[in-house]
Symmetry: C2
Subunit: 330 residues, 2 copies
């Protein structure tokens, strides 16, 4: 199971550094996803087994749906006191050090900083950078690191990496799913990846709150411009009535987005009185990042966000006017 | 790409029969799913290319989300006049001839009947039966038939078979996903399976009606017995107000089913005044088929259904009483 990656030299240096290290700090981005935490879980499990002192850092607590991943109980929200106590720091699935923490200087002060990632535009902030933008998930790189080092892929490691692959490919539906990704998934399945557990924990552990939120949001569903624009909204009042938290909003925008014929989908969230956060998704050539920049926001062509001062109605009015203009020009 | 299947002899006989046939009838089960139609699309595409007369039969029309599959425009809802005009009839993804049509005698009168399936309990109704209950999807068998025959896996065939695998494994999440299934998916990806198209058509082409129905159904969501039972209902009046059709109900029961802690989920659908269809799902050891049999229904341990005479409220009351009893005994 091997892909020619062109990371042989860097990979060998990273393996050597990790093999020699006595204390390792592992970091992932804030608001962590399945790829970040799957990668973290795999490397944490492997290095711990080798008797190293391993510190796992994530600015945010591990979301409920990922707490089943091996060793997640070790993830902490603070850095150690002293950067000099760390031999190697590894940052995973992170295209930007600012996404790790508010004090990235700490990481720059560690003797060796390793950057394992697959995001386009990663600025190669580490002393060693293994950035493969063809990889569907950082989990692919973590697997290759194991392979190169000869570290065993246990059932725990396989379960963590399968979670990485699965969550970053939308369950092998997105176009980033390559034949390599699927062959790797086959290897992991063979090595004991517990896919029933992944399904149950990641995909089938909805909270009652999230369903109440979905019902409320769908009750606001509107379409315009021949069904090319669809939007939903959640007011502060509704959010509080339901008791919804950040995680409950996960995936909500996919409901208007996946209606047949919709080109641009919007989610309006009142985050405080007079402030509305807007999520934008494009299913067409419309560049929603360009739209979001009107209000100082940003993102990618197909997924972006911005924050608008005003009421929900004002935010909707402003956004829709610009989206309609873009659709007219298209 | 080969799995030892033990179907070598039968497989060779089936290949020989199909190679010799001039007219072939291909059939799948009623209310067809992605595996049935993906298998049908693949074999239909391949045999048509060989210049054979191929008739594709399905009792029900092809659901909108599967109409993108190659050659689906050829699927018809009637059998040809005369069984003797058919050299070989192939029934795919069908554990029971009664699921194909109301006149299975027609198929018994064809010179050669071939049964390609993966359902446990398939009664081997064909003259040749290739039934592999280890296969995640009938699509795996159709692939192996191509491999054995040396028929090319074109991008169209690959797209059809990827759809088979993906839909019957819940996007590679269910435990029937084997390492072989994933390696096969890798092969199909390499051979040009258009996974972006599959995602868009199968998973991202919701109807507005289905979202209205979801919103209405979620507004009826109730839980009892410490959150172990969850149910939703759709009255005839609500169904008609929304204009929902059969396909819009697809996947609806997964919403109560996937709430964390739920062991039994129920969907109540008033199909006419005084008649309620009930869908049952189990996430635990509770055997919902046994529950459904109280009302003359049936199914599997984890997925079953029955029909109850009475109002929605009466149906709920009766079902819940029995489900609670089962939970108490458990
Ligand atoms: Mn990632
Ligand atoms: Mn099937």
């Amino acid at each position: 199971m091997h892909r020619i990656t062109g990371h042989g030299d860097k990979g060998a240096a990273i393996v050597a550094a990790l093999n020699q290290a006595r204390s390792v700090l592992l970091c992932v981005h804030q608001i962590p996803d399945g790829d970040a935490l799957g990668s973290l879980s795999a490397l944490l499990t492997t290095l711990q087994k080798q008797g190293k002192t391993v510190i796992a850092y994530c600015r945010d607590v591990v979301p409920q749906i990922y707490r089943f991943l091996p060793a997640m109980e070790l993830v902490q929200q603070t850095f150690p006191e002293d950067a000099s106590s760390i031999d190697v720091a590894v940052v995973m699935d992170c295209g930007d050090l600012e996404r790790v923490c508010t004090n990235p200087d700490f990481l720059q002060n560690v003797a060796m900083l390793v950057n394992l990632d697959h995001h386009v535009g990663n600025p190669l902030f580490g002393h060693f950078n293994w950035v493969d933008t063809e990889a569907a998930a950082t989990g692919e790189i973590i697997y290759q690191l194991h392979e190169m080092a000869g570290w065993p892929i246990t059932a725990d490691v396989a379960t963590a990496l399968y979670t990485s692959l699965m969550t970053d490919t939308g369950s092998f539906q997105f176009s980033n799913t390559t034949a390599y990704t699927l062959r790797l998934a086959a290897e992991l399945r063979e090595k004991g990846a517990r896919i029933e557990e992944i399904r149950r924990e990641v995909y089938e552990s909805r909270t009652l709150r999230s369903l109440r939120l979905l019902q409320q949001a769908l009750s606001t569903l509107q379409l315009s411009t021949n069904g090319k624009i669809a939007w939903i909204g959640v007011s502060l009042q509704d959010k509080e009535r339901i008791g919804a938290i950040h995680e409950d909003f996960e995936g909500l925008i996919s409901y208007p987005r996946t209606i047949k014929g919709v080109e641009v989908a919007l989610l309006f969230r009142e985050i405080e009185a007079g402030t509305v956060k807007v999520g934008l998704r494009s299913q067409s050539t419309i560049d929603v990042a360009a739209i979001a920049r009107h209000w100082g926001g940003g993102g990618h062509r197909r997924a972006a966000g911005c924050t608008i001062k005003g009421t929900m109605a004002e935010a909707e009015q402003q956004l829709l006017a610009v989206v309609k203009e873009c659709l007219d020009e298209d």
